[in-house]
């Protein structure tokens, strides 16, 4: 009996208070900016920050108040969100350049000597602060998974000493790229493309000692490329994706196999 009284009393107080709150919110309601509400409803709500604002609310605020008219900043939302935003705001549709993150390193445990063995805390940020031993690559993936920890979509897994990004899950928010202390991860447009999977800027002979898949700066790719898209700068090949026609001659000819051609059109195609 007592428990029923108790429940009734607490429930009754709750009921009275909730009625009061409902009345208050009805009579004291503030007309929220309608544009803001509509714009916010178009955004995915992941608060990843890829748009450069503090979150979906921040971006919606900026759009609603006219601080920006770019409706294509939401990379994870891709064309669908850009379309919805431009419809809501009555602006012209802007195509979103969808992006995926790629790891510019193929230095697995089989081919590369890892610079540090870290006991205790497994963190790239900590490992990158330690002095590298002479025989380890100071540019490659540390493989301790700071990127995997920040990834909101669990798209990154660690295998054999380096990070792998599942492009079917990657939404292109760039959190991993900003987290990586070695700057090994970069964002590229999500189409089938050829990338340089090495970040080492040392001379070929030095790189060779540390990693058998490391770029040695031989320039074969630069010579092989029919469209002049590859330039070797600081012993590292760079591909200009505007010029690259995807002929694959660089990847086929690379003596160490650090140029790879992959299909990066994942998540956004399936959506």
């Amino acid at each position: 009996m007592e428990i029923i009284i108790c429940a009734a009393i607490v429930g009754g107080i709750g009921l009275i208070l909730s009625i009061a709150l409902v009345l208050a919110s009805k009579f004291l309601a503030v007309k929220q900016d309608e544009t803001f509400t509509k714009v916010r409803a178009c955004l995915p709500g992941a608060n990843c920050g890829a748009c450069g604002y503090s979150g979906c609310d921040g971006y919606a605020q900026a759009l609603a108040s006219g601080q920006t008219d770019k409706t294509n900043l939401c990379v994870p939302g891709a064309d669908a969100v850009s379309k919805a935003l431009s419809d809501t705001l009555g602006t012209e549709f802007c195509d979103v350049i969808e992006q995926v993150a790629v790891v510019n390193c193929v230095g697995t445990c089989n081919v590369a000597k890892k610079p540090v063995e870290l006991g205790g805390l497994q963190s790239c940020a900590a490992a990158s602060l330690l002095p590298t031993s002479a025989d380890g690559c100071a540019y490659g993936c540390l493989g301790l998974g700071d990127c995997a920890a920040v990834c909101p979509e669990n798209a990154i897994c660690l295998d054999n000493g380096i990070a792998h990004i599942d492009t079917r899950k990657c939404i292109g928010c760039g959190l991993c790229m900003r987290t990586c202390p070695r700057k090994v991860i970069s964002l590229i447009a999500d189409v089938e493309q050829t990338i340089v999977a090495c970040s080492n800027k040392e001379k070929g002979a030095v790189t060779r000692l540390k990693c058998t898949s490391g770029g040695i700066g031989c320039g074969k790719c630069e010579r092989n490329c029919p469209s002049g898209a590859i330039k070797v700068v600081n012993n590292l090949a760079h591909i200009n994706h505007d010029l690259c026609d995807g002929c694959d001659k660089c990847a086929a000819g690379c003596p160490v196999g650090c140029i790879i051609k992959s299909d990066f059109s994942g998540y956004h195609r399936f959506k």
């Binding site: 007592e2 009284i5 108790c6 009393i9 607490v10 107080i13 709750g14 208070l17 909730s18 009061a20 709150l21 208050a24 919110s25 004291l28 309601a29 503030v30």
Partner: protein, 192 residues
């Protein structure tokens, strides 16, 4: 009347809720960067304290005690305080949107501000009458405001100071808070 003022002063300075009883440290450290924000937060807290005392005291006396449900005190009080904070938020959003925007996330945090719950529970625990309880709540709120404003002043000095690198940010703020709290020890035993 003298009794009421004594209760209020004792709550404001001697048993200052932040600096002597370490209630409400979250807003004390979080919103004390600028004195105008600190003032706004304090006014909101005073308002919530008074309102929640005005509601919880009768509930405790005429409902919970009368039905021997004293053990439900914490839950019922938190319920009431949470609802009142929602109300304050709605009112602020309507009438003082600038303050609402500047308080931001700290306003809903008054819900979990233990100073508010502490005051309402202490009122009952110390067996205060309704009038005394209201003055105690007012005094406690004023004490909160005093602490916030003093500390906002201290923090603006810290901004200009150049502490060693390892102390910058929160560490030096906590040390400053401890020194400010130490100064309130001087009031101990003044009233009551």
């Amino acid at each position: 009347m003298l009794k009421l003022i004594t209760v209020m002063m004792a709550a404001a300075v001697v048993n200052n809720c932040v600096l002597s009883q370490t209630y409400g440290i979250c807003p004390f450290l979080g919103v004390s960067k600028k004195s105008d924000q600190a003032l706004g937060m304090s006014v909101a807290v005073i308002f919530v304290m008074l309102m929640s005392t005005a509601v919880t005291w009768p509930i405790q006396t005429y409902v919970l005690d009368a039905l021997n449900l004293g053990y439900m005190q914490t839950i019922v009080f938190i319920l009431v305080i949470a609802a009142l904070v929602q109300l304050v938020e709605i009112v602020l959003k309507k009438y003082i949107p600038a303050l609402h925007a500047s308080l931001g996330v700290y306003l809903p945090l008054i819900t979990t501000n233990c100073a508010v719950l502490g005051v309402t529970v202490d009122n009952i625990k110390n067996g205060l009458g309704f009038g005394e309880a209201m003055f105690n709540a007012l005094g406690c709120g004023l004490g909160f405001m005093l602490a916030m404003l003093m500390f906002a002043g201290v923090r603006s000095r810290i901004e200009d100071a150049d502490p060693p690198k390892c102390f910058r940010g929160l560490p030096i703020t906590l040390i400053a808070a401890s020194i400010v709290a130490l100064s309130f020890l001087g009031f101990a035993g003044l009233f009551s």
